[in-house]
Amino acid sequence: MSTTLSQSHSSGGNPLGGDDTKRSPLARLQHLLHSQATIGPAAVLLVAIVVFAVLSPRFLTPGNISLILQQVAVIGTLAVGQTIVILTAGIDLSCGAIMVLTSIVMAKVAADTGLPGLPALLLGFLVGTLCGLLNGLLVTRLKLPPFIVTLGTLNVFFALNLWYSESATIRGTDMPSLLLWTGQTINLGGTRVTYGSIMMVVLVAAMAFALKNTAWGRHVYATGDDLEASRLSGIRTARVLLSVYATAGAVYALAAWVLIGRIASASPQAGQMDNLDSITAVVIGGTSLFGGRGAIVGSLIGALIVGVFRNGLALAGVDVLWQTLAVGVLIIVAVSLDQWIRKVKP
């Protein structure tokens, strides 16, 4: 019962180094994909684009691409706010309600009182930020789960919206043109792209920068990763959470602006399904619902995946019914794939 152990492992301390030789091609692919966080969703998007391009010659036209960008602009913008909330291990069910409320505020104040575009817009941002702040206060002060807080405020904001709007749609013709600006187009290399789409892309870039390159961004990740550990490490976690919810509120106000431009009116009935839609985008984009892991760019890709599917299936003449089915399957497949990719330890 004696054994002589030949110490074959390079003694790099623990953990022990595993040998790479036995890996299958699939595992190799998995490793490759793992090296970039958003590469999973990006791969799904690419495959979807290729498939639809084959199915319909109209799909890859500049006009159609610009159209998809327009169609995802509202959800994509909302998803930016939703992502930072989810990164802190929260969730925001009230995002659609905040967006609708602020869109009504911007439009109705201007229509009723003749307030010019800029102050009306700023007022909307103020309202959005305050709504977000209220969520943040309830989360940090009452220490309630974000799901519950935003389930509650969803109802509150929606009621306020019905009350203030008197349930009436405000027409674009009654508003200052600044509010409609996001729906205007600009010629980019021969294709007409709306300012709303461009704004979404710029917002995604700015937020991605802030999350990656500022202390605030790090604190957002750390807070979502482990709240108590972050607090003990000297992060003002309550302040981080407040800033996140308030910023999200401001982002939803931006979405409201995009929405007004998109439908060239402000409707109190809009946005009722947008909470689940924006969460869907975030989740398909690879951000973890448990907080601390994910990226803004992923959420944009997530929104684009859903947009491409809906548009592509529609172009291919597939009934809405099957579009709905496809989106359901897509959510599960995309997240499974992402999970599989993440399983690899570096």
Partner: protein, 257 residues
């Protein structure tokens, strides 16, 4: 040579790129306390997780009383009479002490209440829990109906240890049971380990505390880099030599029992 009660041969377990077990062996003889020592990350917990069915090894075999077995879940190991106190404790905070002791092996009432309505025998289990805790006499737990989350870390540890000691019929395994415990509480757990051996049950004890190990162990299994580096006798090998083998500073004697 006596047949080991529990034996592992050439266990391999990989986590992604990390190899936690690189061909690990282990033998547990009847009635002995086998200590397992090793650096952090040497694969001690991985080894006993394989032995207790908590993970399925990629390669290698496990034998109980000389017969190969294959554990696909903790239940299989438990059915073979192997009870484990995991490093992470594995208790359910919101359930009470009695419920935790009987978790996964609840008793049902007699008669139709039990067979048809599948009603739990709450009182029976509570009384039995009381008896077990008293018999082990390790800690001042007053009420077996208390939720585990209201207990201190030491008391929780006691519940987990009591469960293993009470239900183990062939082997009891404990992974660092005293790591978070105070001096007095550690003493109680060590006494319990000795008590279990007295009952004729062999024990595998993982610990970083050398004085404890040298006090209670009959043999010491030294784990290093995912393998068994040596097995030494605490009566013949000094503490510092054991540590030297463990850290790779010294080669083990060519032959070990």
């Amino acid at each position: 040579m006596t047949t080991p009660v529990l034996q592992a041969r050439g266990l391999v377990k990989r986590y992604g790129r990390v190899t936690a077990l690189a061909g690990a062996d282990l033998e547990l003889l009847p009635g002995e306390i086998l200590a397992v020592i090793g650096d952090n990350g040497a694969g001690k917990s991985s080894l006993i997780k394989a032995l207790s069915g908590a993970v399925v090894p990629d390669e290698g075999e496990i034998l109980v009383d000389g017969r190969p077995v294959s554990f696909s879940s903790p239940i299989d190991a438990r059915d073979a009479g192997i009870e484990t106190v995991h490093q992470s404790l594995a208790v359910s905070p919101s359930l009470d002490i009695a419920a935790n002791l009987f978790l996964g092996r609840e008793r049902r009432r007699r008669g139709v209440l039990g067979s048809v309505f599948r009603m739990l025998d709450r009182n029976g289990m509570r009384d039995e829990a009381r008896r077990q805790l008293d018999a082990l006499g390790i800690m001042t737990i007053q009420n077996p109906g208390q939720a585990v989350e209201t207990l201190s870390g030491g008391q929780r540890q006691a519940v987990a240890v009591a469960r293993a000691a009470a239900f183990g019929s062939r082997v009891v395994i404990m992974d660092e049971p005293t790591a978070a415990l105070g001096v007095r509480e550690s003493r109680a757990v060590l006494d319990l380990v000795l008590q279990v051996r007295e009952r004729g049950l062999p024990v595998i004890l993982i610990s970083h505390n050398m004085p404890h190990v040298f006090e209670v162990a009959d043999r010491i299994h030294i784990q290093r880099l995912g393998r068994r580096k040596a097995v030494v006798d605490p009566k013949t090998v000094s503490m510092s030599d054991a540590v030297a083998i463990m850290t790779g500073a010294m080669e083990p004697p060519g032959q070990f029992a």
